[in-house]
Amino acid sequence: MLFRLESRGNRSEFWTYASPVLAIVLTILTMGVIFGVMGAPPLASVETFLISPLLTASGLSALAVRAAPLIMIGIGLAFCYRANVWNIGGDGQFTLGALAGGGLALAFPNEAFWWFYPLVLVAGIAGGMAWAGIVAFLKLRFNANEILTSLMLVYTAQLMLVWLVTGPWRDPQGFGFPQSAQFGADATTPDFGTTSIHLGCLLAPLLALAIWQIMTRTVLGFQLRVVGQAPRAARYAGFSNATLTWVALLVSGGLSGLAGIIEVTGPIGQLTTGITPGYGFTAVIVAFLGRLHPVGIIFAGLLLALSYLGGDAAQISLNLPNAITGIFQGVLLFYLLGADVLILYRLRRTRHMPSTTEPAA
């Protein structure tokens, strides 16, 4: 081996923030290679993928619209991961939020009270919380692995959505398409002016800042961090693991549910079978790339939102499948996880000496 890893002894502040930058640069280079392999001009394709969506006003507002759910789910997931709770079912909690709030809106289509919209949002939050609550309950009561349960609930939620929009909630005037009726005017997320930017785009960064305050300024936030970083110390200090698991999952589920109900009452306007292109999974990358930090997550959410727009742009102007988005996201996470080794370790060149004690690494 040419290099070996040497422990730094403590976390490198520099590499905590330099690692995402390094990962992004390496991902862009790799994307160039992938475009080349697929027979597209590398430089021009990267420009189409990452820059062209940002050059128009409509592109920028589309970016904000895509980033809103990613940021909301991402801060919730970061909250969980800090507490060492591996919720990866953001997509399911998002869907349940859309179903709970959407169901309420469909049940009362002509409700004309100013408080009906907030009520729909609250229902969405409750739906997401309930779905995440199942995960918390099964983990604490039966010791069931939250990674697997939260993921199985993603599939279950998706199938519930399909059932509802093809069955009981299908729009009678929808020509048989698998979709619900459009939501009424009082259950619609308001837009700003003529752009597609909606309330959720404003709410997402505000929620991120609120969560940051909770993490840094409250006892609860402190306990969450201790449980995540030093579970033993937390136990000695008498912090209740159960309470924190509940809080982490409910906060995260509530935020995902809110993202879901805002998405269907806003940009989509009705329930359909395809309300999420995997936001819950992309948000995992958002959380890690943003260093599990609310401010970082805002930037990471914008970058990953760009990868969706880039995929569409590549499809339209380069005639490539928009699945290129998934490749970008996967490669980015690979590089990020690899580069993160530099936070705790430094690379040392190994001298040419035949060591008798074979280094196992």
Partner: protein
Amino acid sequence: MTLFFVTSFIVSIMAASTPLLLAAAGELIVEKSGVLNLGVEGMMLIGAIAGFATAHATGNAYAGIIAAAMAGIAISLIFAVLTLSLLANQIATGLALTIFGHGFAALLGAGYVGIAAPTLGKLAIPLLASIPVLGPVFFNQNILIYASFAIVIFISWFLRKTHAGLILRAVGDSHDAAHAMGYSVIAIRYAATAFGGAMAGIAGAYLSLYYSPLWSQDLAAGRGWIALALVVFSAWRPFWLLAGAYLFGGITFLSLYLQGLGVPIPSPLISALPYVGTIIVLVLISRDSRRIRLNQPACLGKYFHAVT
């Protein structure tokens, strides 16, 4: 007549169980070495597209299986480099594998949607296949169904009766002790991870070359995750894995069968049966945390960084 139905039920259940068994058998060895690779779903998808594309290009389904195994190994080595050499978080890296696998299969598969590749033929074993009832069920199947049984017997024998199996278990249960005894923990874990990748890749090829006649996106449909749950269900014992895989094959079959019968339950809800079933089984198994702790490899998911 009823006999005919029973035979065809059993054959359908075997068909649904095999991909779970193949992938879970690989993951069992991976976890026995102390590595938790959550990317089974992604490796399956990559195996599925690699197998499909190769079989489509060469016209040979067996070439597809080999390509799928190679692709599974290749992607699992990315996981190994990140988690074993660069000490990245195994949970996050496994997720990255799955996200990448989805993207990769969708990208390469974009041109294949709705197209068929050569399917894996059945290999009748002479004489045995002509036994009534048992013959068609057990001795007239495709090669991967035979292989799935062979692999369970093999890993059970390997883990219990061989020296190499003992070393693998030692690495998974106490990497420090294994290291002190002079075994290369990292090299052994690399090998185990690659085996898991090959098996998941082959499971993917089974889906794209036999189980599903046409290429479609998201062919794995959560089977990689169910395979992970099966390893927990089996408490890391190969023959229990077989039982678990057939239990889930049975549930999958039941959900397809009920939809075919036209029972008054909406079909999306019946389709949810395997996923809800996984949660229920996981709950029943995990209740007894002592039993899990007793059987789970002690170093599962832990970092190993030799200082010397």
